[in-house]
């Protein structure tokens, strides 16, 4: 019986002998020929492959070896425990705080100084998300904006105008949701408006003038009445559309990344979503009638909660200098521009529109959207890109948190309890506040 539990628990010890990432083939001399090891990054598409090749060219005759697969905490911990950390690690920026607080990552200051990296090229919110206690722990890439995506066909069915749809006025939003929603008997036919909770609660909280955590990432603010109000409103939207069980079952049935996606199949009226989904729709259902609008706060101003990824150098990296040079090239504007051109060429061959890539690098964005992205002929996609470009100027990130993963689990559990009808919003968030603050206090002890 104990085989599995002991295997799980001491995997870090056991995997030390077989789960490492490969040793170095040279010393740490900056000019030596080495093979950089990494975790969390694959070269599965044009954007990744083009940049990967450019970064390798920058450190030739040395080279980095792609790891494939996304970041895996178990694999990373095993490597660190066995003193064979990779030279580079690629992960979501929200995870950086946890590993930085435990000193598993090195601050980027030496790297920035060594390679004279111009940090001003990165969007400030992306840099802020990779910064814990004033120290930068990763070079950011990608800038996932949240915007409203509106299904014009569903709106026409409901007699609504996509151009006037907004999240600013909550009673109106609720009324429009009811008009867009369709069901027959026990079966849902269309979700009118999906607030995308639990995961987008931070967006709704910001729309209501609040945040889940203090700016320094050390104090939970889950019992802020405005957070409670945001949760109450969004859960109300779900409950008005069949309740959580039906709502989620129906949403799970969407062909989200396919040609019969919820927009093409008219199964969804509107939802807030990351900008990458515009590319998904452009690639899979280029004829879909779509409107992209900023997600608005109750004050009518755009609210754009952004996230993304980052490159970091683990403590104990055998080749930190070469690794630094490599990620400098990886996140540099010429590299992004080359990658965008490659993607655009591929899309052109496929006869599909390219709606651009939001890089987190202002210089790259400027050139890509001026010179590389061409009008597709679908007004929805073309104006959508312009909307996102405008909206991203208002982008804000959640601060780096020393126990980011655990903090997120606590508030998401609270939302799930409310969605399942087990607790009221205020009660669930009060419980979560206590748990979250304990988690944050423990993680920040000594930092």
């Amino acid at each position: 019986m104990f085989i599995r539990t002991s295997r799980i628990l001491v995997a870090a010890l056991l995997l030390a002998g077989c789960g490492g990432v490969g040793g170095s083939d040279s010393d740490s001399d900056e000019n030596a020929t080495v093979t950089l090891t990494m975790m969390g990054f694959g070269t599965g598409d044009d954007i990744a492959k083009t940049r990967f090749d450019a970064a390798n060219a920058a450190i030739a005759p040395s080279a980095a070896k792609a790891s494939e697969g996304s970041f895996n905490a178990q694999q990373f911990l095993s490597a660190v425990a066995s003193k064979t950390p990779p030279d580079l690690v690629y992960m979501e920026r929200r995870l950086l705080g946890t590993y930085a607080a435990k000193k598993a990552l090195v601050p980027m200051k030496d790297c920035v100084d060594q390679e004279k990296i111009d940090l001003s090229q990165f969007r400030p919110a992306a840099v802020a998300e990779a910064t814990l206690n004033g120290q930068l722990y990763g070079l950011p890439e990608f800038y996932n904006n949240r915007v409203l995506m509106i299904n014009n066909t569903a709106f026409a069915d409901a007699g609504l105008d996509p151009a006037s749809f907004s999240t600013a006025d909550w009673p109106t939003l609720k009324a429009n949701t009811a008009k867009l929603f369709k069901s027959k008997g026990n079966k849902l036919q269309r979700i009118g408006f999906d607030p995308k909770i639990p995961e987008f609660l931070p967006l709704w909280a910001r729309a209501n003038g609040a945040a889940l955590v203090s700016d320094d990432g050390k104090t939970a603010k889950l019992t802020d009445p405005k957070v409670v109000e945001a949760l109450t409103f969004t859960v109300g939207l779900v409950n008005a559309q069949g309740g959580w069980a039906k709502f989620k079952s129906f949403r799970d049935s969407f062909d989200f990344f396919g040609a019969k996606n919820q927009f093409a199949s008219n199964q969804l009226g509107a939802f807030p979503m990351e900008d990458f989904y515009l590319n998904v729709l452009a690639g899979n259902s280029p004829d879909v009638k779509l409107t992209v609008a900023p997600f608005q706060g109750r004050d009518g101003q755009p609210v754009d909660w952004i996230t993304g990824n980052a490159w970091a150098i683990p403590a104990g990296s055998q080749h930190p200098k070469q690794a630094c040079k490599w990620i400098k090239t990886m996140t540099d504007s010429p590299t992004w521009i080359a990658a965008a051109k490659a993607r655009a060429a591929t899309r052109q061959k496929e006869g599909k529109p390219f709606s651009g890539v939001f890089t987190g690098n202002t210089k790259a964005d400027e050139v890509i959207f001026r010179d590389v992205v061409k009008p597709s002929g679908n007004a929805g996609f073309d104006t959508g890109v312009k909307t996102i470009l405008t909206t991203q100027e208002a982008g804000v990130a959640e601060p780096a948190i020393a126990a980011g993963e655990e903090f997120k689990a606590v508030w998401q559990d609270a939302v799930n309890r409310v969605l399942e009808g087990k607790q009221q919003p205020a009660q669930a968030l009060a419980q979560a506040q206590q748990q979250a603050q304990t988690v944050l206090d423990q993680a920040n002890r000594g930092s």
Binding site: M1, F2, I3, R4, T5, S6, R7, I8, L9, V10, A11, A12, L13, L14, A73, Q74, L77, V80, A81, T98, Y99, K102, K103, A104, N186, K187, L188, P198, E199, W244, A245, K246, K248, S249, F250, D252, S253, A403, E405, E406, A409, Q412, D413, N416, R417, E420, K422
Partner: protein
């Protein structure tokens, strides 16, 4: 046995003994030590005494995950044993060729990767568009939201677990084939009904196999992880909607260890599970003395 034979026996056993010491006993001792520490792999290890054990007694998620696991076990084990026995009895009556075919058919799902079973569960049991509710609809039953309604998640998982009962069927089939025919003939001559023959001949004669599968299935149910984790916690997106009704004990243990880096606490969780399994198994062994018949006795 001579000392030379003894040495030879140990020689042949040594690969297993060495493997056991390194890969089982070693990690067990290590986890026991870790359970008394605050350990996150990345920073120094601090001795905290029994603090982790005190914490788990107060942790509501331990209670939730333990209750989920025990409820699943109580539903899954009898269902698996009953359905498997029924199928095995049908196989015994089938012709030689068709029995071979069906034996293979029943066993095939067992070799399906559990990850695939988890994904299949979500597809088949989707409350709005899944095949299960579609079929229930044909007979006028409005099926529940198996994958998203907390009250129906565990029953759904139990039904799905019947997918992979092939091993138990094979064990029962072997046991049934070993029951002497003359016992049935004698019972029949005495006028015993089919039910009486089943109760008085079949069950006692295969009680050893029943007991074995009871222990094995109970332990394996208490350690359920792969398919449930895949279905409800396998991706970042799924974790977002992680339903407490699907939070099984080993999943919670895994989250504490590798998601939140509380290796010491996770070790304490592992030892609590170990203790629970030992107690349940000892109870089963004790009860077996009254109900299990061995021919050698």
């Amino acid at each position: 046995m001579s000392s030379r034979e003894t040495r030879a026996a140990y020689g042949f056993l040594s690969p297993w003994i060495i493997g056991f010491l390194i890969f089982m006993a070693g990690p067990m001792v290590a986890s026991l030590v870790l359970s008394l520490t605050d350990y996150d792999v990345l920073t120094s290890t601090d001795f905290v005494g029994a603090a982790n054990y005190q914490q788990l007694l107060a942790d509501p998620k331990v209670r939730t995950s333990l209750a989920n696991t025990l409820i699943y076990t109580v539903l899954h084990v009898p269902l698996t044993m009953a359905v498997s026995l029924g199928l095995a009895m049908l196989l015994v009556r089938a012709g030689r060729r068709s029995a071979g075919f069906f034996r293979t058919v029943f066993y095939l799902p067992t070799i399906t990767p559990k990850v695939a079973v988890g994904v299949l569960f979500l597809l088949l049991f989707n409350g709005q568009v899944g095949l299960i509710n579609e079929v229930l609809g044909w007979v006028g039953i409005n099926g529940p939201d198996w994958t998203s309604d907390g009250q129906w998640i565990k029953p759904g998982l139990v039904v799905m677990s019947a997918w992979s009962l092939g091993s138990t069927v094979i064990i029962y089939l072997a046991a049934l084939q070993d029951v002497p025919r003359d016992l049935y003939e004698a019972a029949e001559m005495d006028g015993a009904s089919p039910w009486a023959r089943f109760r008085a001949v079949t069950v006692p004669m295969i009680s050893g196999a029943l007991f074995f599968t009871l222990i094995i299935n109970t332990i394996s149910s208490l350690q359920t992880f792969d398919e449930v984790y895949t279905a409800f916690f396998g991706s970042s997106n799924q974790q977002t909607y992680g339903n407490d009704a699907a939070l099984f004990y080993v999943i919670y243990l895994f989250q504490q260890a590798f998601q939140f880096l509380h290796m010491g606490y996770a070790s304490a969780l592992a030892w609590l599970l170990f203790l629970i399994i030992v107690i349940i198994t000892l109870l089963q062994v004790r009860l077996s003395r009254r109900f299990v018949y061995y021919e050698s006795e």
